[in-house]
Structure formats: C-alpha cells, structure tokens
Symmetry: C2
Subunit: 344 residues, 2 copies
DNA sequence: TTGTAAGCGTTATCAT
DNA sequence: ATGATAACGCTTACAA
C-alpha cells in the first residue's frame, strides 16, 4: 500500500496543514528571507543554500500563499472578465481570445457572471473586483457596467464588444452600426424592401447601434421605416427568436426579409417560419449576426455578419495589459465581415 | 461640473488611492479595531460611534481589502470552477446551476479554463487554486484533474459530470453507462442492428462509460460489435462530427443508425450525411447526447439524452458547500431522460 | 551571501 | 464599549 507505483514524489507531506514559508526556512535551516529570495530569484544566493531550500520546498510540497504574496506585491496578476451570459458561444469565443494573450503574459483569468444587474453589493463581485484582480475586461452591458465603474478607483477597465461612446473607458469593438448597414444593404441589394428587424433589449449598446444602422440603411434607400417591422425579443435565446418572429407572420403585409441582431435569434426565426410552412430564403430571407459555430452547420446555413471574436478578446487583453504597464490605452475598432451563405 | 445630477454621493473621493481601514479609523476618530467591528457586526458598538464610522466609510468610499481579509480569516468565500471548454453550452449550463446555489450562500464564483493540460505550474491556475479559492468544482477531464488533486491538500474538490470511479473525490453525475444503454436500446427497438458509435477521446471518463454502455446494449441484443463502426472524433465541435461521420458512409455496409456521444457531434454527423444526399432519419437515424439548446431547434430536431444540467451544477455546489461546512460529502448520481424528437 | 525586521490591510485577543 | 497589539504569510529594505 505504500509504494503502489514509482511516483516521483508525493510532494505533499502527510500533514493536513499547508506549509508556510517559515516551515520551509526551518526545514532548510535558513531565514524566511532567503527562502523568498530563491523562490523569486530576486537576488543571488549561494548554490548550496539554494539547493537546500529547493529540497525543503519539494519535501514540504510548499507553494507560496497567493493571498499573502499579492497583499505585499500590490498586484494579483489576475484579470477579471465580466461575462453577461456563459451560454452564449459568442462570449465564450471572446474569452478564449483574451486567454490566449493573458496566458503568455503570466496573467491568470477570472471569469465572472454579470448576467443579472450588478449592484455594488453583489456578493460574488464584491470580493472579486475589490483588489482581487488587477484589471477588468467587461463584456457586460454598459448599463450594468457603469455603476461599477464609479465605485472602484484605480482599477483599469476595458470594455469589449460593447461600444462605449462617451469615451470614459477604452473599448475594443467592431463598428456595430456600420455592420448593420452592410447587412441591411445586402438585403436591399437582393431586392428586398420590406425588411424586419429582430432585435434585443437596448440596454445593450450594440443593439441600439445595430438598430441605428438598420434605420440608416433603410432611409438611405428611401424605404420608409415601419415601426411594425421591428420586434424586440425578450432575450437572445433561440426561443425568444421564435417567439418574436412568430408575430411577424401575422401581419397583413409580411416582410420578405428579416435582419436579426444575433444568430440565435435568426435561427429561432427560421424555425418559426418553417413551422408555418414558409421556406427560407425563398419565401423569406433571414440574416443573422455573429457567425457562431452552429451558423454554418444549420440548414439553411446562415448568411450573417462575422465578428473577429478571437481577435476582439485578444486585443482587449493587450489593451488592458498595456494600461497595467503604465502605457496609454486607446480604443480600437476591428473589422467585421459579411458572410454570404444560404439563408439570405 | 460639480453637481450635474443629484447623485446620492460620489462614494469615492478624488484621491487616486484606495482608502485603508486606518484611514477610516482616523477619519472617524476611532481605532481600526472599532472600524472592523462595525464592518463585521462582530460585537456591540455604541450607536453614535457606529454612525461616525459609517459616515467615514461612505465619505472615503472605503471597501475592505479582500486580500487582507481572506488572509486573516483563512477563507476567501470564493469557489473555483474548472471548465474544459467555455464554448460548450453544456458546461455553461452547469456553471449556471452552480452559480444559483453559491450566490444564495454568499460565495463568489471564479471560473477558470481547464482546456489545456493542467500542469502544476500552469501560471493561470497556480495563483488561482493556491488558497485563492476555498474549494473546487471540476468539470475537467479526470485525466487532467488527477495530478492537481494530489498537489493541494486540504482543498475540497467535487467532480461534476465526470464520473470518477475510484472514489477519491466525491462527484455528481448521471449514469453515463446506463444512459448510453438506454439510447442504443431505443435504436435497437426501432429495428436497427448496424449501429455506429461516434465518440470522443476517452480521456473523458464519460466517453469511455458511454462506449461501455453502447457495447453492453449491443451484446445484450446479440448484436456483434464491429470495431469498424466506432469512430473517435478529434474533438466535440461540429466539424469533428462531420469529419468522423463522413468516413462512415464509405463503408461497404453502412450503418443504419449512429449514436453520437454529444449533440454537437450528432449535428455534425447529420450535416455530413445530408451533404451526400442521405436523409435523416429515413436513411440513417442519429441520436445525440446532452440536449443542448440548439438540439430542439435544429432540423431534424435531435432525439437525444437529456442531462439535468442545471441540477448537476447545483447539486455539485451544494455538495461542496456541505463539505466546507465540515459535513460529509457523498457522491450522487442524477437521472437522465431520453428525449424522442425527429432525428431517430 | 544571509538574517533581522518593518510593513501590506485585515481580524481577533487581550486589556482597559 | 473601545483601544493596543499580535497574528496571517509574504516581500523587501537595511544590516551584518
């Protein structure tokens, strides 16, 4: 039972307690300062003392207490990412982008749910952002975000995907308005004139900006804007897309195309249309937004706007890291792309 | 510029520095001990001293430094969730379940990516699990997880979804083997005898367990197991499903049904089949697993095994919390359900 | 090269 | 009821 395998070393002693730096010092017969020095490579130490310390560290399975270390150093090397919805693959992909650059720079990532309204005393966040992270990348709705910003001074923020206009905090985003213009113009070019907008709660800046783009494109083409044609879904899940699109069919002069502000909404809409026997895109064309993974595999494959999601996250991370290093941080807008597939 | 609105109070002074407890004490004319007492309600304090302290707190926009507090208390009230893949809605839903119960109990959630192999010195994790969290809920592959378990003593772990057999750590999961049996038996009941298995890397315990179920169901029905019929996808993304399923069609006696160990794989397979003109389920039936949101909206809607995802997460959280409170923690397996829709 | 000691911002144990 | 003061586990001058 003792040597079931030839494991390199248990690394952890039988004791239930975690070893502290003083335990290591004692074990190695040196002072805690010396231990700290070999741990951090902060100053030259004698080769054999170093060896003794390292042996002690191994023997005790010692790991520096991150809390104490951060308290001293004044930094945690942890970044907080605020995500409005874990279930949305779009956000997931951004987080991956963030991670790819933070990892390289030795920063850890803490992802927190920002789905519900964030209040100052939100217990989960309170402990998190309060000096537990060196900076924040927020994908949250700006409306939710704003109150938080005011509370915590000295905490560098970067907004990602949400385009913030008043310039209070730097952000990385595509030009949602222009992307919407491109999408609707594409529909117009294909001969559509009755184009519905399937959108979301405008607490999201991008929802507002995409609606503006939609309206602009219509106006530019001298197509009157019909308030009947814009529907606000209760959320961005598939079901809400079905729900909101369903009512579109009931109109006396139904639209020939719909621009949905997210792929999930678009897919929900298509489902609703087909349920009542409408063909997509023959009877009604549907454009999505985001180009989530399922967009290309769904049938009909979605014509949609692709965001450079990965890059969005990576750029936001770089921005934040730059700010942390004391540099200036400038907002930056990335390029979107129109992906033509089968749904419109 | 001073009073643009009637805001309750800026809460944060113009200073760039965060106020510490001693600043508050000084401002209120009391000792730091007293400040701590009113903050934590830990002992009775005079009404007017309390008022003075609270005023100082408000005036300075003071918030306790979480690092220092945790260092003293010996707990962070933060739980770590290890997620193998952010982009997988299945995991996302589990996290939501976890969150629903941790929030109630005043615990915060830290979600970390465990997609790559976790090494002891994985920088992101290192700082994270090292006393920064009071406990861990892992959705990671057991193979990745195991090395970590050994390193950190005294850190309560709970595995979720991954069914761990040797009982080292408690886990919450469905019975993957039985679920697979149910799925394959359903296919058999519908008259299929050449049933392919579309599975994933067996570093995931559930992948192995589902394959075992698949084989058991076949044997039980006296159907010989054909190694040609089991395909291991390179990942669980849609594309890998397409890729792995594509080769199935090339067989001389192609299967009449396929059991995919995830909905994403199933959808990818369906896509591949239809590309070459096969109809689902008429020509070939496809069963999924997980019942992700898109499963019901995809066409054909997926026949699949539903896991009580939300509940899985919630139960795992309850288990961990119970352990943290010093109670015993027993593994527990939840019920799955066969959802019959259109794909099989 | 190494050790002593002063913090970092809290909480908790004494006294008072 | 309140105030010193000793931890918590670490880093970092400053001495030796």
């Amino acid at each position: 039972m003792s040597t079931k395998r030839n494991d390199p070393a248990p690394a952890v002693p039988a004791s239930g307690k975690l070893a502290s730096i003083s335990a290591v010092a004692q074990h190695a017969g040196v002072s805690i300062a010396t231990v700290s020095r070999v741990l951090n490579g902060t100053k030259a130490v004698n080769d054999d003392t170093r060896a003794r310390v390292e042996a002690a560290v191994a023997a005790l399975g010692y790991r520096a207490n991150a809390l104490a270390r951060s308290l001293m150093r004044g930094e945690t090397r942890l970044l907080l990412v605020l995500v409005p919805d874990f279930a949305n693959p779009y956000f997931a992909e951004i987080v991956k982008g963030v991670e790819s650059v933070t990892r390289k720079n030795g920063y850890g990532l803490v992802v927190a749910d920002a789905s519900e309204t964030l209040s100052r005393d939100s217990p989960s966040l309170d402990s998190l952002y309060n000096r537990l992270a060196d900076g924040v990348i927020s994908l949250a709705r700006f409306a939710d975000l704003k109150p938080l910003l005011m509370e915590i001074p000295d905490l560098p923020w970067v907004a990602c995907s949400e385009f913030v206009e008043d310039g209070e905090i730097p952000n990385v985003s595509i030009d949602h308005r222009q992307a919407a213009i491109d999408a609707v113009q594409y529909l117009i070019n294909r001969g559509h004139r009755r184009i519905a907008l399937l959108t979301a709660d405008e607490d999201y800046q991008w929802a507002r900006q995409r609606r503006e783009g939609y309206e602009f494109a219509l106006r530019r083409a001298n197509i009157p804007i019909d308030a009947q044609l814009v529907r606000i879904a209760r959320g961005t899940d598939y079901v809400y897309g079905m729900e909101a699109a369903g009512t579109l069919l009931a109109m006396e002069t139904a639209p020939t195309a719909v621009f949905a502000v997210s792929d999930t909404l678009a897919i929900g809409a298509i489902k609703a249309f087909r349920r009542v026997g409408r063909r997509v895109p023959e009877d009604i064309a549907v454009m999505g937004f985001d180009d989530i993974p399922v967009a290309r595999v769904f049938e009909p494959a979605l014509t949609t706007i692709a965001q450079p999601v990965r890059e969005l996250g990576a750029t936001a991370a770089e921005l934040l890291l730059k700010r942390l290093a004391g540099g200036p941080a400038e907002s930056c807008t990335l390029q979107h792309a129109l992906i033509v597939r089968a749904s419109a």
